[in-house]
Subunit: 209 residues, 2 copies
């Protein structure tokens, strides 16, 4: 009786438990939920998984995932082509898009430098970023599409800060404004509960009232 559950159920539990944030107990619960779901629901989930990469490409300009290459942001004439916002992954770009404040372009690194995890500059889309800026610097672009600012919007974590520093050092020789997203207290946060590093950043990064 080592295999109490049928093989197809065990297979699904195994596959689900491999996903990030899903443990073996959650995977079991999901499998039971699906067992009691109508066939149509199971099919739509299964097909959504299988179709995930259908028609998807990476935009070879900004390395965002998209339905076309270059992607619709890179080709959108309404966007400000003077600014590139560098993010670690696609969801970060999505989060910035949701603010509806930013109208420039993106560059998705697909990670951050992390020697412990074996992630060096070659595992990220760093060379592509530098090439993009070099091509811009060579002056074949008109003034409207000349990159004038690079916003480093990597996470305010050890890896994100390291990555931002790495990029900044590489771009020193270019005629560019290099900025870093502000680190400070989250809106709605409480000074009392802020950690010291954040609070210290909020103090040093203070602006005129």
């Amino acid at each position: 009786m080592s295999h109490f559950l049928p093989k197809t159920v065990r297979d699904l539990i195994d596959e689900m438990a491999r996903l990030p944030g899903i443990g073996p107990k959650s995977a079991q619960r999901i499998a039971m939920h699906l067992l009691h779901s109508p066939e149509s629901k199971i099919e739509s989930l299964g097909n959504a998984v299988l179709n995930l990469k259908e028609n998807l490409v990476f935009c070879e300009n900004c390395w965002n995932i998209a339905e076309s290459n270059p992607c619709k942001i890179c080709t959108d004439e309404q966007r400000d082509r003077n600014v590139i916002c560098v993010v670690e992954d696609i969801l970060d770009a999505q989060a910035i898009e949701k603010t509806r404040e930013y109208k420039g372009l993106y560059h998705v690194l697909h990670g951050a430098l992390s020697p412990i995890d074996g992630i060096g500059p070659d595992q990220l889309k760093l060379q592509d970023l530098f090439k993009r800026i070099e091509a811009n610097d060579s002056g074949i672009h008109d003034e409207n599409s000349k990159i004038s600012e690079i916003i480093l919007a990597t996470n305010p974590s050890l890896e994100g800060e390291t990555t931002a520093l790495y990029i900044q050092k590489h771009l020193l020789s270019f005629d560019l404004k290099i900025t870093r997203i502000a680190r400070g207290l989250p809106v709605g946060g409480d000074l009392e509960y802020a950690d010291e590093v954040t609070l210290s950043r909020a103090m040093t990064g203070r602006g005129e009232f």
Copy 2:
């Protein structure tokens, strides 16, 4: 820019977020994980979902999910056919199997009585349980397969206790030993942190040392 992510990615996030225990943020994280996974991994997950119910049937004797009807537990001559353990769902039966202590048969109710959630006796496999016991009582079975004990192993929750009580009342007229799994302190637990109901149960249910 309301739809920053491609449609296939949004579809997967929507489907994933409908599963129990997965919120929109987890669903996004899973979609990103799969986007960076090789095609083979995506296929094996998608197929595991689609194949879930393939060749699966409910055993019409114990209502466990199985690859055959009746299931291999119901047909296993090595098992003790005198005892039926009544559980709320399949995972409960699996948990009991894992103890390797129980050698009898099961009956899966597929839920517990919960008027608030609209779950009455007809939504559960209760009639099937009663019929199983009636058929047994009519004396067509030999002594080896005569049911002599019903173990009520529904959860020690309000719904589980109600269900157990309901079954017990229905079976009073039969010549059966009806037992309920013990409620008390979990092994490795601490008296100090036990809630009052559990501790009270542990005291009244005490056994000789």
